[in-house]
Structure formats: structure tokens, C-alpha cells
Amino acid sequence: MAELKHHDEPTHHEHHIVSPGVYLAICATLLVLTATTTAVSYVDLGEYNTVVALAIACTKMTLVVLFFMHIKYSSKLTKLTVAAGFFTFIVLIMMTMTDYISRAWGRW
């Protein structure tokens, strides 16, 4: 009975243990991406150097958050907390940038 009640709870979340194989694969991918971003920095892509470097960094961050930090296997509450954190961060950055871009409008 106690078992049944436990599983019926809306907050119930089945715990998942990530296997070492997954960790190893993610680690290898992250190292390959590190080598890639360093190698690409030696190629002159103009302003796209920044775009490529940040795209690779975002990919690495996503891999770390999803697998090393278990968010792929976490409860909805945890997923929502992480999403809310990043969303608020992006809102704050956008607001600040909008201010700085528009403040000296036409004078640069």
C-alpha cells in the first residue's frame, strides 16, 4: 500500500544511475570538441571565429549539464529550475545589451 502511494505522488521520480560507458563517451566528445575549438582558432574566419568558438562552448555546456549533471535523467522540478535559471540569465543579458546598444544611437 505504502509502495502504491509512493508511486502515485505527482513528484515521484524514478532514480536513474548513469552508466560509466555514457560518462566515458561524453568525456571523449568533450575532449574532441576542445581540440576542435583550439584548432579552429588557428584558422582565420573573421568574425565567425567568435561564433564557432561560442557554438562549441554551448555544445560542451549542454553535454555537461545533460549527462555529467544528470539533467537528462532528472525530475521535472529540477529540469524546470535549470531552465528558469538560464532563461532569467538570458533576459538580464538581453536587457543590459539593449540598453547599451540604444543609448548612443546614431553616434557610433
Binding site: 532514480h15 583550439t38 555546456m61 549539464v65
Partner: protein
């Protein structure tokens, strides 16, 4: 129920053991609930950390656009090999920490200690490389406020002969280095705190803790460690890489 049946049930489901686990606080209904609460709290803390480092990244973005030539010249003085080495060291240390959490989940004490020691060594290795770089910057008079001279940006360097800045622009490289030391310094402070916490946890594991299903402290430390890794994943391209061809 005699002790034999109880032991069998414990090995089978883990339920009897968990309901009366010594680490289960009285205000929680079950171990999973306690663990979920700990994860939630840890992520709330990490959210405040995102905002903290986010402010630094934001000012880097704005000042880099305002004093672009000075930031490019400042970035040219960093060693890409050291940044790449440190990124590699931190990623491998994140892997060893993830394995430590796995060892805590599967309750293998020797493996847990081994992976924690590996993480500790890699964390210290990162700090050593960082200290070497800071020493280089001190020798080159690139430390604003304490030991700064614009001379190295006036006549070009061996690697970048075109880095001949007018004196007023050369002075502005202090903004780049201020942000560089603030960002890598705050990151290193987080690493030092991490290494200290890891040492304490390691001593506790040696005393027999965290291999009885009480994974939350190890797991939450892992989250902190991975977060510090993510900060470096962004610092590395922004400080070392993106200005190389500008």
C-alpha cells in the same frame, strides 16, 4: 520478523533499510524525497552562481566592444597551449567526479576514494598551470594596479609584430587584464573552495560515510564541480581564442 528475513528483504529491495536510514532527516518522508530536495536546493544555489559569473561575462562583452583593439592585443599575450591544457584537465576532472558519484551510487568505497583522489589531483594541476600563467603575466608587467606597464603593447611582439598600439590605447589593455584577473581569479577561488570541500569529503569517506546510500553530499559536490568546469568552458574561448586573428 527475525533478523535473517530482514537482512534478505534489505538486500532485495533496499526499502526496509532506506525507511530507517540513519541519514534520513525526520522532516522528510523518504530518502528519495530528501535527495530530491537536496538537488533542488543545490540547483537554486547554482542559479545564483550563473547570475554572478554572468555579470562578469556581460561586462567583458561590453568592454570588449568598447576597447576592441586593446582587448585583442591583451588576448594575444595569453598562452593558448596553457588554456587548452587546463580545459583538458578540467574536463577529465569532471569525468572523474562523475565516476565518483557513480561509485557512491553503487556503494563501492575504494572506487569512490580513488575517483575523488583523481579529481583532487586534477583540480590542483589546474591551479598549478593557472599559477604559472599568472606568474608570467606578473613578469611581463601585465597586472593592472600592482605591476603594469604599457611598453609591451607599443612596439609589437614576436608572435604579433603588428600589435603597435598608441599609448592611450595601450593603457586600455588594463581593462582587459582587470577582467582577465577578476574572471580567472573568481574561477580559481571556486576551484580552491572545491578542492577544500573535496578534501573534507574524502576524509569523511575514509571514515566510512557516503557509501550507505547517502549520495546527496557527493552528488551535490559533483554538481558544483561541473558548474565550475562549465564556467571555464566559456572563459577559455572568450579570453584565449576568439581574438587570435583580429
Amino acid at each position: 520478523m527475525d533478523s535473517h528475513t530482514l537482512a534478505a528483504q534489505t538486500a532485495d529491495t533496499g526499502h526496509v533499510e532506506d525507511e530507517h536510514a540513519p541519514f534520513l532527516r525526520h522532516h522528510f518522508e523518504s530518502v528519495p524525497q530528501q535527495r530530491e530536495a537536496a538537488t533542488f536546493g543545490m540547483w537554486l544555489f547554482l542559479t545564483t552562481e550563473i547570475m554572478f559569473f554572468g555579470g562578469l561575462f556581460c561586462s567583458y562583452l561590453i568592454f570588449r566592444n568598447w576597447y576592441y583593439p586593446a582587448f585583442v592585443a591583451g588576448s594575444h599575450t595569453l598562452h593558448i597551449w596553457a588554456g587548452t591544457l587546463n580545459t583538458t584537465v578540467l574536463i577529465v576532472s569532471s569525468f572523474t567526479m562523475a565516476m565518483a558519484v557513480h561509485a557512491a551510487e553503487t556503494r563501492v568505497r575504494r572506487a569512490l576514494m580513488g575517483w575523488m583522489i583523481a579529481t583532487l589531483i586534477l583540480g590542483c594541476g589546474f591551479l598549478c598551470v593557472k599559477a604559472y600563467e599568472w606568474h608570467d603575466e606578473w613578469v611581463d608587467h601585465h597586472v593592472p594596479g600592482l605591476n603594469f606597464g604599457p611598453e609591451s603593447f607599443l612596439h609589437g611582439t614576436k608572435a604579433y609584430p603588428d600589435d603597435k598600439l598608441p599609448l592611450d590605447v595601450a593603457e586600455k589593455t588594463q581593462l582587459y587584464f582587470s577582467l582577465y584577473f577578476l574572471m580567472t581569479g573568481m574561477h580559481a577561488l571556486h576551484m580552491i573552495i572545491g578542492v577544500s570541500l573535496l578534501t573534507i569529503l574524502l576524509i569523511q569517506v575514509r571514515g566510512g560515510k557516503y557509501v550507505n546510500g547517502h549520495v546527496a553530499p557527493i552528488e551535490n559536490f559533483g554538481l558544483y564541480w561541473h558548474f565550475v568546469d562549465i564556467v571555464w568552458i566559456f572563459l577559455f574561448p572568450l579570453l584565449y581564442l576568439i581574438s587570435r586573428h583580429q
